[in-house]
Symmetry: C2
Subunit: 333 residues, 2 copies
């Protein structure tokens, strides 16, 4: 065979491969997922509820999918990112609060002793959160979060917190929306905190974010109507609060629910109890090389043995970060 002939054939093969690769990329919206059971369950579920005339067809208006945020859509170690925000705010506000030098949990915190600060348990956390999340208008708070999240870095990865989102979950969100689903966040995190970046990072608009909230007070400040964040909890969107929040804010039972902790149990139970096809999945943190391992066997964290037992009993899908995800973060090579 002549050299030019071989070159031509090579060119044809290359073109074919290119076209094929592109077609494959277009037909596989879950590129960062390994071809294993978790991915298969998702694709299979979406096909079943989308098949017109099929017995498991769900009208688009009822295709509600709910996602926990911390540990499900983005990382939550070494501490919840919202707590990292609160700690940074305490430091920033300290000059205006000289009394904090003598007052726990602030005193320990300002000395860099996080463990000491959090030793006070929930009341200590409550004080930190209220000092940094209340007493200002919703717009002032929004600005604080926006400024922080644009620059603050994750201590281990050295990346922006908004880069600590799970690439496979971003693909899943997009895939569900392209399949007629409406995607919601249902998180124990603060609703006003998440809404600052949910649209940009997840493609989820503020009206589809459900979270914990503080009480608000409408008032006129210099003749301008504002909403002031009061130092009082209104709603905790965790455990039983999740189905309650879903009913209040969506008013429809989801057909798909994704979580990663014991706080998501009731949300998955509530989702499963509806009629027809359902998809319940739990992200299991079992990858200490690429992320963290604090799952069922680790005896720490919120994916407890009881949750794993329930997942088995109720046939919930457990996503192994180690085995099911080809890539965890977009910045990975």
């Amino acid at each position: 065979m002549k050299r030019t002939m071989i070159n031509r054939m090579m060119l044809v093969v290359c073109l074919f491969l290119l076209v094929f690769a592109q077609a494959y990329a277009q037909t596989d919206p879950l590129l960062s997922w390994n071809d294993a059971k978790a991915k298969q369950s998702i694709v299979d579920f979406v096909k079943r509820v989308s098949a017109k005339g099929g017995k498991e067809f769900v009208p688009p208006a009822e295709r509600i999918a709910v996602f926990d945020n911390d540990g499900t859509l983005w990382a939550e170690q070494p501490i919840y990112f919202q707590l990292a925000f609160a700690l940074d705010r305490v430091k920033a506000l300290a000059p205006q609060h000289p009394e904090w030098k003598e007052k726990e949990p602030f005193a320990s915190l300002l000395k860099g002793d996080l463990k000491g600060a959090l030793a006070g348990g929930e009341p200590a956390i409550f004080q930190i959160v209220m000092a940094t999340h209340a007493g200002m208008t919703t717009e002032e708070f929004e600005k604080n979060v926006r400024d922080w999240i644009a620059t603050a870095k994750h201590p281990k990865a050295g990346r922006l917190y908004t880069e600590m989102v799970y690439q496979p979950m971003l693909e899943l969100l997009r895939y569900l929306r392209a399949s007629g689903f409406k995607t919601f966040i249902v998180s124990g995190g603060g609703i006003d905190f998440m809404r600052v970046f949910s649209e940009r990072v997840y493609g989820i608009p503020p009206e589809q974010v459900i979270g914990s909230s503080g009480k608000l007070k409408f008032e006129l400040r210099d003749g301008k109507p504002v909403l002031v964040k009061l130092p009082e909890i209104d709603f905790i969107d965790d455990k039983s609060g999740k189905p309650e929040g879903i009913h209040l804010m969506i008013g429809r039972r989801p057909v798909a629910a994704f979580g990663n902790s014991i706080g998501d149990k009731q949300m998955l139970e509530y989702t499963q109890a509806g009629d027809g096809a359902r998809l319940m999945m739990l992200v299991h943190h079992d990858d200490d090389k690429r992320e963290y391992a604090y799952g069922a066997k680790s005896k720490v964290g919120t994916f407890t043995d009881a949750l794993m037992a329930q997942a088995k009993k109720y046939s919930w899908n457990v996503i192994s970060m180690k085995d099911d995800w080809k890539r965890i973060f977009a910045f990975e090579k």
Copy 2:
């Protein structure tokens, strides 16, 4: 001229008129509105926020329009329709509550004395609402509303309550959605009550309905997860509650707000306080022939003189049902 010639010409004219009428119908989405200031304000506002490159352009994601329900989207006389539902439920439940014969406000109510029953003021209404809206699962309540609304008739019009919706407002909802807006209900009415019919009647899905709510309790009944409605108020979506509810449930300031009473004042103020183009409108009930007249001058009802004064001062648009609406209800000839 020959008779056949005349016939042909008539045919051409008829066809022309038909085509013209259809084209006109297609280009005027607000057919039931008279060509007056209110209609002009709406069309003008929509054009300004939709004009790409225009200095008042609003991205579709931010085109949030909020609507009060009672008296704004459907009638509210002679009593709130949800109260009519509650009264009918009291009668239906009476056989299971022999004690109600001796107990106010139920005793008066069962004797047909509505005025006597409501003489107890808010606590009496609270008792009626709780007896008919709590102590059951959300699904049981939904079924009660669905059954009632399918058959109960308005006492004056003799029509289903869902026929008592304002045709011009239905056209407005559709027009806004066709122009990229997301339409929300923000009402003092019960959230679980409105969601039963909001999608069918207004084209507004449950997740875009904000209203007053009672507390919920998640529990397992016979192993099945349910949400039980507790006899405890969670949130009153009226007056200052409206902007608070909007922030909690939407998380974005609306660009357009529609109401009809003093309970909508804060919602309109909050809407107006944002930057850029804004549209605030109040439906004024001044048509005692086709509907009811209980507006500013009537000294009854919730469209007070103070509200009319504020509308003038803040340049809010007042919709005169008498002058601005060609047709009020779809069933009118």
